[in-house]
C-alpha cells in the first residue's frame, strides 16, 4: 500500500512536470502542443549526447554531473521549444485551428524521426545510472536517487509557481491567457511572453526527460509519445490551463495508475490512464481545479 503510494507519487511528479508545460502553452495560446512529449524525449537525448561525449564519470560525481547536464539540457530543449514556436506555430496563429494542430503533429514527427535519424532507432542506455542505498519507510522501498529526483521536481514546480504568481512576466502570462488583445493594448509584449512560456514549458519537459533517463536507464526516440498523452491526461484531470491543477493532476494520475496497475495488471496501465481521461472529459471536462470558461467567439 505505502509502496503503491510512493510509486504513484514518484511517477506522478514526472507527469506533473510535463503536464505543466502542456497546461501553460494551452492556457496562453489555446494550443494542444502535440510535440510536448517529444521535447521530453529531446531533453533525454540531449543529456545523453552530453554525457556520452564526456566519457566515463566516476560514480561519486554522478549526481553533480547529472545536475549540470540537467540544466544544460533544459536550456537547449527550451531553446528548441522557442524555435518550434517561432517557425511552426507563430505563422499559424490566426489560421484555422485544424492547421495549427496538424502543424503540431508535423513538429512531433520532425522531433521523433529527426532524433531517430541522428541517434539511431534502437533504444540507448543512459550513461549515468543513479545508485544509492535503499531504505524502508512504512513498508515502502525508497531509494536515495528517487528522493533526489523528486526534490528536483518539487523545487522546479515551486519555482515555477512563484514565478507565475509573483513576477511581472508571470502576471503578463496570466493576463494573456485571459485576453490576448487586451494584454496587447495594455502594453504587454505578447510575442515575447509567449516565447518565454514555450521556453519554460519545454525546459520543464526536458528536465523530466533527463530524470526519467537517469532513473529508468534507457531512452528511445518514441518515449515521449505515451508520456505526452499521459501528461495531457494529467493536465485535463487538474483543469487544463491551470498551473496548480496540472501539478495536482500529475500526482493524482500517478496514484490512479499505480493502483490501477496493481488491481488490473501492469499491461493495462496505459489503457487505464486513457479510460480515466475519457471519463474525465465526459463527466468534468474542466478538471478538478478548472473553472468553467465560456468559449469566446
Amino acid at each position: 500500500m505505502t509502496q503503491l503510494l510512493w510509486d504513484g507519487l514518484f511517477v506522478g511528479s514526472f507527469y506533473a512536470l510535463i503536464a505543466l508545460g502542456y497546461s501553460m502553452v494551452y492556457g496562453i495560446i489555446k494550443l494542444l502542443n502535440f510535440a510536448h512529449g517529444d521535447l521530453y524525449m529531446l531533453g533525454a537525448f540531449v543529456a545523453f549526447a552530453m554525457l556520452s561525449s564526456l566519457g566515463g564519470i566516476p560514480a561519486s560525481l554522478s549526481i553533480v554531473s547529472l545536475l549540470v547536464v540537467l540544466m544544460l539540457s533544459m536550456v537547449i530543449s527550451g531553446a528548441a521549444g522557442v524555435v518550434i514556436e517561432r517557425f511552426a506555430y507563430r505563422p499559424l496563429r490566426n489560421s484555422p485551428r485544424l492547421a495549427l494542430l496538424i502543424s503540431a503533429v508535423g513538429v512531433s514527427f520532425i522531433l521523433e524521426y529527426g532524433v531517430s535519424a541522428i541517434a539511431g532507432p534502437n533504444p540507448r542506455a543512459f550513461p549515468v545510472r543513479l545508485e544509492g542505498e535503499m531504505f524502508m519507510v512504512l513498508g515502502a522501498r525508497i531509494t536515495m536517487p528517487q528522493i533526489v529526483l523528486m526534490l528536483i521536481a518539487a523545487v522546479l514546480m515551486v519555482l515555477l509557481d512563484t514565478y507565475i504568481r509573483k513576477t511581472s512576466t508571470g502576471r503578463a502570462m496570466r493576463s494573456i491567457s485571459l485576453d490576448r488583445t487586451g494584454s496587447l493594448l495594455m502594453g504587454i509584449n505578447v510575442n515575447a511572453v509567449i516565447t518565454r512560456t514555450f521556453f519554460i514549458g519545454s525546459a520543464l519537459a526536458a528536465a523530466a526527460g533527463v530524470m526519467a533517463g537517469a532513473h529508468y536507464g534507457n531512452i528511445n526516440f518514441l518515449m515521449g509519445f505515451i508520456i505526452g498523452l499521459k501528461a495531457f491526461t494529467a493536465a485535463v484531470i487538474g483543469g487544463i490551463g491551470n498551473i496548480r491543477g496540472a501539478m495536482l493532476g500529475g500526482l493524482l494520475l500517478g496514484f490512479i495508475e499505480a493502483f490501477g496497475a496493481e488491481w488490473f495488471g501492469g499491461e493495462w496501465r496505459d489503457v487505464f490512464a486513457f479510460a480515466i481521461l475519457i471519463l474525465f472529459l465526459t463527466l468534468r471536462p474542466t478538471g478538478i481545479l478548472g473553472e468553467r470558461v465560456t468559449e469566446r467567439v
Binding site: 489560421s95 494542430l101 508535423g106 520532425i110 524521426y113 498523452l229 491526461t233 496505459d270 489503457v271 475519457i278
Partner: protein, 362 residues
C-alpha cells in the same frame, strides 16, 4: 456547385489578381483535366486496366494495399476534410473492423463478407463511445482523445486472448467462395477491392455534396455561425465521425481479407498519421486530391526504400510547411475558396500573407 461559381464571380474579382497570374498555361490545362468530370471514370478504368499490364503478385499486392489506403483516406476525409475534426486514431476503426471480421469469421467459419453487419455494429459503437463524450467539447480534445483511443484499441488487442494477443489472428477465411469462383485469388480480389473502394469513394463524394455535407463544411468554417443558423452541430459532427468509422471498418474487412491475418503491429499511431498525411497533402475536403494524396503516400515508400530513415522526417517537415503556406492542403476543394475569401469567418485565411491583417481586424 454550379450555383456557387456563378454567384461568387463578383466576389472572386478581388482575389483574382492573386490567383490568376500564378497559373501558367500548362497549369491551366492541367487543372482543366484534373477538374473534368471524366477524371474519376478515367482513374477507375486505369485501375481496372492495370492488372492487364502487370499482374505479378508483387504488383497486385501493392495495388490492393493502395486501394485499401484510398478507402481509409476517403473515410478520414469525411471527418477531417469535410467536418474539420482532427482524428489522430483513425486506424483504430480499421483495427476494430479487421478484428471483428476476423474473430466472427473464424469462430463461425463464415466467409468474411457475411461479417460485415457485425463489423458495422462494432465500428459504429466504437465511434459513438469516442465521439459522444468528446464532440461536445472543443475540437482539440477530440484530437487527443482519438490519439488515446488508437492506443487503447491496440494495447487491448495486444492484451486479451480473443484477439490472439501480440501474435494476432491468422488463417482468416476468404471473403467469399461460390463453387470454383474464389474471390480470394489475388487478381480477382484486386478487382473486388477496386470496385468496393470506388463505390465508397463515390459515396463519400456524394455525401460531401449532400445537405449533410454542406452542414459539415459550415461547421468546419464556423461552428458558432452554423449553430446560429439552426444546424445541430453536435449531431452533425457525430454523424461525420460515425461515417468515418464505417469507412474505416470496411477498410478493416478488406485488410483482413487481403492479409488473412490481423495483428496489433498493423495499427500503430504511425498508420493513423500516414492516413492523415494523405488527406492533408491531397487537400482537405477535395476527394480527388485526397485520392492522389493517398496514392502518393502509399506508393512512395515502395519507390524510396533506401531513404526509409528520413522518410518520416520529411513527412513531418512537409506537414508543417504545407500548413504554413497552404492551410487548406495542397489541392483544396475549389468550391469553398471564394466563400473563405470574402467571409470574415474565424481564421479563414486561405493565404498566409493575409492572415495578420485579418487577425487585427478581429
Amino acid at each position: 456547385m454550379t450555383t456557387t461559381t456563378t454567384t461568387d464571380s463578383p466576389n472572386a474579382a478581388p482575389s483574382g489578381p492573386k490567383n490568376v497570374p500564378r497559373r501558367g498555361r500548362l497549369a491551366t490545362s492541367l487543372s482543366t483535366i484534373l477538374e473534368s468530370k471524366g477524371l474519376g471514370w478515367g482513374a477507375l478504368a486505369l485501375a481496372l486496366f492495370l492488372p492487364l499490364i502487370n499482374a505479378s503478385p508483387y504488383a497486385l499486392n501493392i495495388m490492393t494495399t493502395a486501394a485499401i489506403f484510398i478507402l481509409l483516406a476517403s473515410g478520414l476525409n469525411i471527418v477531417v476534410g469535410y467536418c474539420g475534426l482532427l482524428d489522430l486514431g483513425y486506424i483504430a476503426f480499421m483495427a476494430v473492423g479487421a478484428y471483428t471480421a476476423g474473430i466472427v469469421a473464424k469462430s463461425f467459419m463464415l466467409p468474411l463478407i457475411f461479417t460485415i453487419p457485425a463489423v458495422l455494429v462494432m465500428t459504429i459503437l466504437a465511434g459513438l463511445i469516442i465521439g459522444a463524450p468528446t464532440l461536445r467539447l472543443r475540437s482539440d480534445y477530440l484530437a487527443i482523445v482519438t490519439l488515446g483511443f488508437g492506443e487503447i484499441v491496440r494495447i487491448t488487442a495486444n492484451n486479451i486472448s480473443v484477439t490472439g494477443g501480440p501474435s494476432g489472428i491468422f488463417g482468416i477465411p476468404g471473403i467469399l467462395k461460390i463453387g470454383d469462383f474464389d474471390l480470394q485469388q489475388p487478381a480477382v480480389f484486386y478487382y473486388f477491392t477496386v470496385i468496393v473502394v470506388a463505390v465508397f469513394v463515390v459515396w463519400s463524394a456524394r455525401l460531401g455534396k449532400s445537405r449533410l455535407g454542406r452542414a459539415w463544411r459550415f461547421v468546419r468554417e464556423d461552428e458558432d455561425a452554423a449553430e446560429a443558423m439552426g444546424i445541430h452541430t453536435y449531431k452533425v459532427k457525430l454523424l461525420a465521425y460515425i461515417f468515418g468509422a464505417i469507412w474505416g471498418g470496411v477498410g478493416g474487412v478488406l485488410f483482413a481479407a487481403h492479409i488473412s491475418a490481423v495483428s496489433p503491429q498493423s495499427f500503430v499511431f504511425l498508420q493513423s498519421a500516414l492516413v492523415l498525411m494523405a488527406v492533408v497533402m491531397g487537400g482537405m475536403g477535395n476527394m480527388r486530391g485526397v485520392i492522389i494524396g493517398a496514392l502518393v503516400i502509399s506508393l512512395l515508400p515502395e519507390l524510396l526504400r533506401d531513404l526509409a530513415a528520413y522518410r518520416y522526417l520529411a513527412f513531418g517537415l512537409l506537414l508543417v510547411v504545407v500548413m504554413i503556406f497552404r492551410p487548406q492542403g495542397l489541392w483544396p476543394s475549389r468550391a469553398s475558396e471564394p466563400e473563405r475569401d470574402d467571409g470574415a469567418a474565424a481564421g479563414a485565411s486561405a493565404d498566409a500573407s493575409v492572415a495578420p491583417a485579418k487577425g487585427k481586424s478581429r
